[in-house]
Symmetry: C2
Subunit: 191 residues, 2 copies
């Protein structure tokens, strides 16, 4: 199949759907949705979110040096979308969405109680890339609802029901069919 | 629901499944699979992959200053898994997997012809985080198969059929049900 050049576009997909929690300058709990986020180191465990400087959350992370990431289940996808549309400067998003803000156990940032898995992060690197600042955070604590843990004590995706987005076409999806086990199904993939 | 503290674990999910292409020191085309990857800036468009220094690809990116990211469809998930298990030091993964290496149009790194979408990246930042180095690349060209483009000229996920992984439980998934449109379904999410 012939490939067409589309120009310089960051067409990487799928991206996770993440709710970034911080306290604002007035001390009020705030969340915003980020799709520019992921894992960037295993030891120490580091993740990142990339945010525009114009956002309230950007200033809050710079000021506070920490943030949380709450991972919304499918059932909160409308709330997650709203949290990416509205600004904490204009509205109390927790209140508007009927969500519960809980202070982190290890960092001074709030998480979303209704999300089954939460990561508490201490800012360790701030990388300026252009339109976005990348905030690399070391995960100092992971929290999960007791009832989503599997036999190994890890969050079971059948219970946490995470979502992804396709940025280019602007669609959200849940998980589909399980395609197999990582570090396993490829052992006989040689042609 | 009471939350349990799981300790410092990078339990962010889902993660994309990406094939990172480089030429090795012997000039041979190589790929490796990365789940630590994502979008980190919109303008200029930047993505990243995080790799362990022990990998052949790590050295190739440092030496060459560029890499490609090919996004495998569901039908290549076994090949993608294999490319994360084997080392280019031991085997020619393109040959083993029956895949076709094509030199990038803008960077000196190979991509996987059988993948419908490819990003060509110039290394712009190298962030040392511990076990992994984060390689931030500016996307200088995006390529896509003609037959996966939608009416807007963007890759249609119903045709590209991307995959994700859940790192903690080590499962691959395809996309499931479409949950709605980004920047849209939340407009009436207020409680």
């Amino acid at each position: 199949m012939k490939k067409r050049a589309l120009g310089p576009q960051g067409l990487l997909y799928p991206t996770p759907v993440l709710l970034v929690g911080t306290y604002g300058p007035d001390g009020k709990a705030n969340i915003m949705t980020a799709a520019w986020g992921g894992i960037c180191c295993s030891r120490p465990p580091c993740i990142y979110v990339s945010l525009r400087p114009a956002t309230l959350t950007h200033g809050s992370i710079v000021a506070g040096g920490c943030y949380t990431v709450s991972i919304p289940p499918e059932g909160l996808i409308r709330e997650a979308d709203y949290a990416g549309l509205a600004s904490g400067r204009d509205v109390d998003k927790f209140q508007e969405l009927g969500l519960t803000a809980v202070r982190g156990t290890r960092v001074n940032a709030p998480f979303v109680e209704e999300c089954p898995v939460v990561l508490e992060c201490r800012l360790v690197q701030k990388v300026e890339l252009g339109s976005h600042t990348q905030f690399v955070g070391e995960v100092v604590e992971a929290l999960a609802d007791e009832d989503v843990l599997d036999a190994n004590g890890l969050p079971d995706e059948h219970l946490t029901r995470p979502t992804v987005s396709i940025p280019a076409t602007r669609h959200y999806y849940g998980l589909g069919e399980c395609l197999g086990d990582c570090f396993s199904i490829g052992r006989r993939a040689e042609s």
